[in-house]
Symmetry: C2
């Protein structure tokens, strides 16, 4: 292991750059072979070197979850930005400012009221926004059902109001609840089919709807056919995590984000190893709680990244992690994991764990460690 990693103060968030690059290649090649563009969701990393690696591999534009991410990308020369959360009317001024600076920003709505607010603001400022309409493909969160009469009403408000209707988009967020390939393939097909149907409905009503954007990491990695789709959005594939591992879309050696921690104590009677990676480092995300394997607050690995089977972070306070070993690991915790020794923890959810850190430490194949800053807040 790199001497540089051994010298880092803990807790730190490590990126295995080789794994990250393989993850980027895997998704990009899959999208290429399915004949669609990839617009990565950068809410996972919020980190420019990661985003640049995605674009260098062939991504077309980015998806963002906040306008701060949009500003961050545009400041670095990334022009095609899709803000994929229904835009609050109060955020239109910030969106307009980005467009006036030359950013090809597009926004999202899923309601007549939202569309009217966009039109009113645009007309007041003599602007023509790029707008997507959100479709609900699985009852997971936001969006209009294909059969909802509001779908055409929203499209008409936008088109008649002089806006550029760029297309329809959906996100099969319920894919996080699945863990078999047939179920994932079926949901991917449902996501594709419903979003394409929405576009066709708008086209049949005489309006242009050039784009069909779908995506989630599990469905993107499971779809067999993306006919009618123009682009896919996915985010967490860049690092993967234990939730994705439980869903079945990645292998253990594809998890690119981990938290390096130091052992600070033991409670030998209870079999507890106490570390300096509590929930402030891991986040409070318990995404594996209802999956096939509950990893607590994370899977414990050696300092060099080898899984210690059954060892998990079973408790977390703000700056204390509590690790317990599986039954197969024996009870000799004090000499095997002495105070001052180090471990790596794989997180449940890379988006949530990354957000706890102001920067990542990116470790490349040559053993060099680079400090990569990331966004925080709005």
């Amino acid at each position: 292991m790199s001497a540089l990693i051994a010298s880092l103060d803990t807790p730190v968030a490590l990126i295995d750059v080789s794994r990250m690059q393989r993850n980027i290649q895997r998704m990009q090649q899959r999208m290429h072979s399915l004949g669609v563009r990839l617009r990565p969701h950068i809410k996972t990393s919020k980190c420019l070197p990661v985003i640049k690696a995605q674009i260098a591999a062939g991504a077309n534009g980015v998806t963002v979850s906040t306008l701060k991410e949009a500003e961050y990308c545009f400041a670095e020369g990334i022009n095609d930005v899709f803000y994929a959360v229904a835009v609050a009317p109060g955020k239109l001024a910030q969106a307009l400012a980005l467009r006036r600076q030359g950013c090809n920003l597009s926004v999202l709505t899923d309601s007549v009221v939202g569309a009217q607010a966009i039109v009113a603001f645009a007309q007041q400022h003599d602007e023509r926004f790029n707008v997507w309409i959100e479709i609900d493909c699985d009852g997971h969160r936001s969006g209009l059902a294909v059969e909802d009469p509001a779908l055409l009403a929203v499209a008409r408000v936008l088109v008649e109001g002089g806006q550029q209707l760029r297309g329809v988009m959906t996100h099969a967020g319920s894919s996080y609840e699945l863990d078999t390939l047939p179920a994932l393939q079926a949901l991917a097909e449902q996501e594709r089919q419903l979003c394409v149907s929405a576009a066709e409905k708008i086209r049949q009503a005489g309006m242009a709807c050039p784009e069909v954007s779908i995506g989630s990491t599990p469905t993107a990695l499971s779809a067999l056919n993306l006919e009618g789709v123009t682009e896919v959005r996915a985010g967490v594939y860049v690092f993967f995590d234990l939730v994705m591992h439980n869903i079945g879309v990645c292998q253990a050696d594809e998890l690119a984000l981990s938290v390096l921690t130091t052992v600070i104590g033991h409670q030998q009677d209870k079999g507890w190893i106490i570390t300096d990676a509590g929930w402030m480092a891991m986040s409070r995300d318990r995404g594996t709680q209802r999956q096939r394997q509950d990893f607590g607050y994370g899977q414990v690995c050696t300092e060099t990244g080898d899984w210690i089977d059954g060892a998990r972070v079973t408790g977390a306070n703000q700056e204390h992690g509590i690790i317990t070993l599986g039954a197969a690991q024996g009870t000799d915790i004090v000499t095997r994991f002495p105070i001052g020794s180090r471990l790596r923890i794989l997180p449940n959810h890379a988006c949530a764990t990354g957000a706890q850190f102001p920067h990542y430490h990116a470790c490349d194949a040559e053993g060099a460690v680079h400090t990569w800053s990331r966004l925080h807040g709005w």
Copy 2:
């Protein structure tokens, strides 16, 4: 409501300064009447104006959960700093640097190995650290049991190694699992009694043990007698939150931290109001999940802070919150909470929610709004 609040972009973390000041006074006066000093745990706010208000009200020194917090406080003239997490040997150089700059930093250990590491490092650098020994009073996390022979062994390693044994400390973290006054009073007495016993055991062995430091917000607000205790540490009382409300140590009108959010959509069939405060704003903390009332990801209030009974954030994605109303609230969500309208969400856990934001917006009684930055990371 202040026009300034209405102009803020969402999501933002609001501090009600009047409530915060009352909370600070309440705890300070209670400690004064019990005859002990208060050393607030600043991990809750990590925010200088909050810490200064605590010190102005009479607090003696601060407790920190990271050395970055120690550096932050010391840079602002706060000299008496207790780093209350067992110090990793690798962090002693950073602790030494603070002491060499004049910071009266004290560190913590709960093991012979940890104490030996402190002594070895100190002797190598000709330093005399202030050291506390951690006592386990409730099986919650770290610390030595009073009856553990290691207690005296740790004290001897420190004293014979030339370090300043400042005292014993404990934290009754299991108080978060209680919700009746008799149970809290009993745990507070257990916390006091065991920590005082540990000090007496060290004194009976012929070593000085001047200080006895205990604390958690629930026990600090429940203790009837703190005989033998010299100081209390508590943190979350400064803001309070829904977890504390469920425990029963604060009233609804004492919760000083909330997240202001904007309605961005609805799913009327499901009764869902969609907002721009997802888990990135609220945190993933579900601390009320196993308490007497499960508030989901937060209690929903009007923009001015009035509770909407039964309305909770029942789902959270990264930048989407899903609010459902209680049965008593009816189904007219679209006109009652239109797109663009605003709500305030009270968090489960103020320490976790605050950490999601680079700064707070502090609203004083005159309607002014101040931007208070806070620490992020290590």
